[in-house]
């Protein structure tokens, strides 16, 4: 242990250091280089994102969206239910809830309500946060999707969505009896490629949300049928269509009616309008 003593001894310690070739200058050089490099990388990264967003707009063939007529909505929640049965949603996952609030005091009270799907925002804050690009905005029609085969289930996107549109699939089941087939019905999302619903297999353990019933699109990207909620709505409150097509029902409604979007001030530009 003689050498130990040496190292511990103040003087020889100094020797060791003065011999060391890296000087303060070099330390500054090293750290400076590393920091500068990453700074440049992070700035160029942020700007490239904005360029990408611009490019995205020019490639669009459709801009699918909704105009939800609040005068016609009767709060029956058929949209919520039909969506659940269309996508075979497990407990704890919801795509299109009807949000309610009670206003006023007796006797002057009323409830206010509106269905709330994912808004497929034009500038979706949920997309850039995904570490693996599992969730992205489709170039051709602007629908924001989550690839269940890529999602690692970190749930970062849930925190980033300002509209609470995303839920995590915890793998819950309706029927306690494990063997019951109902628990394993495959969801039609992504063309049903995920197959039978089983533990350890996507979509369990991933984040899920409304995708405007993407599975009802044909190869050209046109809808063969209305999304489940719009189709079921008994008051005909949910209008679905292409905002890029000036002749579509939603475009006309937008021109004729007084509409709002939620949290407009954020600039996320939801593709779902509420007609008042």
């Amino acid at each position: 242990m003689a050498e130990d003593k040496d190292v511990h001894n103040g003087e020889s310690l100094e020797n060791v250091f003065s011999e060391s070739i890296v000087s303060r200058k070099e330390f500054l050089k090293l750290t400076g280089l590393v920091s500068l490099g990453s700074l440049v990388a992070s700035f160029s990264n942020v700007f490239s994102k904005q360029v990408e967003a611009l490019e995205l707009n020019s490639q669009k063939k459709h801009r699918w969206g909704m105009v939800i007529d609040l005068v016609r909505c009767v709060n029956c929640k058929a949209c919520t239910v039909s969506c659940r049965s269309e996508h075979k949603l497990p407990p704890g996952v919801v795509y299109n809830p009807v949000v309610e609030e009670e206003l006023g005091e007796f006797p002057n009270v009323r409830r206010r309500w509106f269905p709330k799907p994912c808004f497929q925002c034009e500038q979706p804050p949920c997309v850039p946060v995904c570490p693996v690009t599992a969730t992205y905005k489709r170039k051709e029609d602007g629908i924001v999707v989550i690839d269940p085969h890529k999602c690692i289930g970190c749930r970062y996107c849930i925190t980033a969505c300002p509209y609470g549109a995303r839920s995590f699939d915890f793998g819950e089941e309706y029927i306690a009896d494990k063997g019951n087939d109902y628990n394993h019905i495959p969801s039609p999302e992504w063309g049903g490629v995920q197959g039978v619903r089983e533990h350890g297999k996507a979509p369990i353990g991933t984040v899920r949300k409304c995708d405007f019933c993407l599975h009802l699109q044909d190869e050209e990207g046109n809808y063969t049928d209305l999304p489940a909620c719009a189709k079921t709505c008994m008051g005909k409150a949910i209008h679905f269509g292409d905002f890029l097509d000036p002749e579509s029902e939603v475009s006309k409604l937008l021109a004729r009616r007084n509409t709002i979007r939620l949290k407009e001030e954020l600039g996320t530009q939801p593709n779902v309008y509420y007609a008042l």
Binding site: P91, G153, C154, S167, A202, T206
Partner: protein, 398 residues
């Protein structure tokens, strides 16, 4: 005492394993987080341990990069602590993933618009730098220990004083790279929260800085705690321990300053929805985490103990103070993650869909606690083994 320590550790590992088993077989079913509060105890502990790691590493850089001789006895210890705490943090976040087997995707198909991808890349590089640094730091000792230990030197290095000096040089280069890395990656963890503008509670430019300062405070506290705990001849190092205590005090003071700014600016903002998380912290169901754990235990007691002239020179008081910091910072981390999430994004969402997963109330489930106990016990176990067998305290054996 020793026996008690080992028995507790084994019990911790044992009951923790039950939680791990539950987590692996039933996935997230038994966890209490949901879709309103998607992150819980594990994420809070992840940032806690990752902070300890960055802090411990920066303390080690005082020795190897900035060459402050007084801290020399802490050098190897700090590097090892940084490694072990990082290892614990990574296990925490790994267990938190919905698909653990897909973790590689962040490395191979990263999206660099995401702070999370940045963070993962940075801590991977940081991890490698740490391992290399530990290798160069210890390889001459491994050779000296002879026998099987020689394997760890991988056949390189020498025991001569030139060899040691050369190793020191490498350590210094690695340390110099490691310093900005540790700053970036822990600042990045802060930025991971800071960039989420949907949560006004997080969305602040101060966040990365607060993360760094609190990492230094808590990391410094951990090193002090461990150093006092394992040191047999405490009196010999009493001066070193005192200055460590003062270091922790300074970091803590800056941290408190930033926190006050963050909270006051938040509270005086007149938009009720933005203030809500702050009120949840102070008046919510877990008000005591803020007032008792975070404020009293984590900040006031240690500041008093470390600044009062009589107590700051007393090793047992310094020990108490840093222990308080360590406990208090768990509260700090919990209060970063959960309150920001514990409010509805759209009013009425919780009533609109009735499910335990759609709740603004969160308390960790038994499974979450057990897994945490397991990971912490595992970390302590690995650390104790390292302490026993690795040449971390060369000085002692003179």
């Amino acid at each position: 005492m020793k026996k008690f320590f080992w028995v507790t550790l084994v019990i911790g590992l044992g009951i923790g394993l039950i939680g791990v088993y539950e987590r692996l077989t039933t996935e997230h079913l038994q966890a209490n987080y949901g879709s309103i509060i998607p992150w819980g105890l594990w994420v809070a502990l992840y940032i806690y341990f990752v902070g300890l790691s960055a802090g411990a590493f920066l303390i080690s850089s005082l020795v190897y990069v900035f060459q402050i001789k007084k801290f020399e006895p802490l050098g190897k210890l700090s590097v090892f602590v940084a490694l072990v705490t990082l290892f614990m943090a990574l296990i925490f976040i790994w267990f938190d993933l919905g698909h653990m087997e897909r973790a590689w995707r962040v490395l191979l198909t990263p999206n660099f618009h995401s702070m999370m991808a940045w963070m993962v890349w940075l801590y991977t590089i940081y991890f490698l730098v740490l391992i290399c640094e530990a290798y160069f730091l210890l390889r001459s000792d491994f050779l000296k220990m002879g026998g099987m230990w020689k394997i760890f030197s991988l056949g390189f290095g020498s025991q001569s004083s030139e060899g040691i000096a050369r190793d020191r040089k490498y350590v210094r280069i690695l340390g110099s790279i490691g310093v900005p890395l540790a700053i970036m990656f822990h600042g990045g963890v802060g930025a991971l929260f800071g960039v989420v503008s949907a949560r006004p509670y997080w969305h602040s430019g101060l966040y990365p800085i607060i993360f760094l300062i609190s990492a230094l405070a808590s990391g410094g506290a951990l090193i002090t705690f461990i150093f006092i705990f394992i040191q047999k001849d405490k009196e010999k190092y009493s001066e070193l321990i005192q200055s460590l205590g003062q270091l922790v005090l300074y970091f803590l003071a800056v941290d408190i300053l930033f926190n006050i700014s963050e909270i006051l600016v938040g509270l005086y903002g007149a938009i009720p929805h933005h203030i809500e998380p702050f009120l949840t912290v102070m008046k919510g169901p877990f008000w005591w985490v803020f007032w008792v754990v975070q404020l009293c235990v984590g900040m006031m007691i240690p500041v008093l103990l470390l600044s009062y002239p009589k107590t700051k020179k007393n090793i047992s008081f310094v020990f108490t103070a840093v222990l308080c910091v360590l406990v208090g910072f768990i509260g700090v981390r919990l209060n970063i993650v959960i309150p920001a999430l514990a409010s509805e994004e759209i009013k009425g969402l919780v009533e609109a869909y009735r499910s335990a997963r759609f709740s603004t109330y969160y308390f960790p489930s038994l499974m979450e606690w057990l897994v945490s106990v397991f990971i912490i016990s595992l970390g302590i176990f690995v650390f104790t083994l390292g302490l026993k067998f690795l040449p971390l305290q060369t000085k002692e054996r003179i």
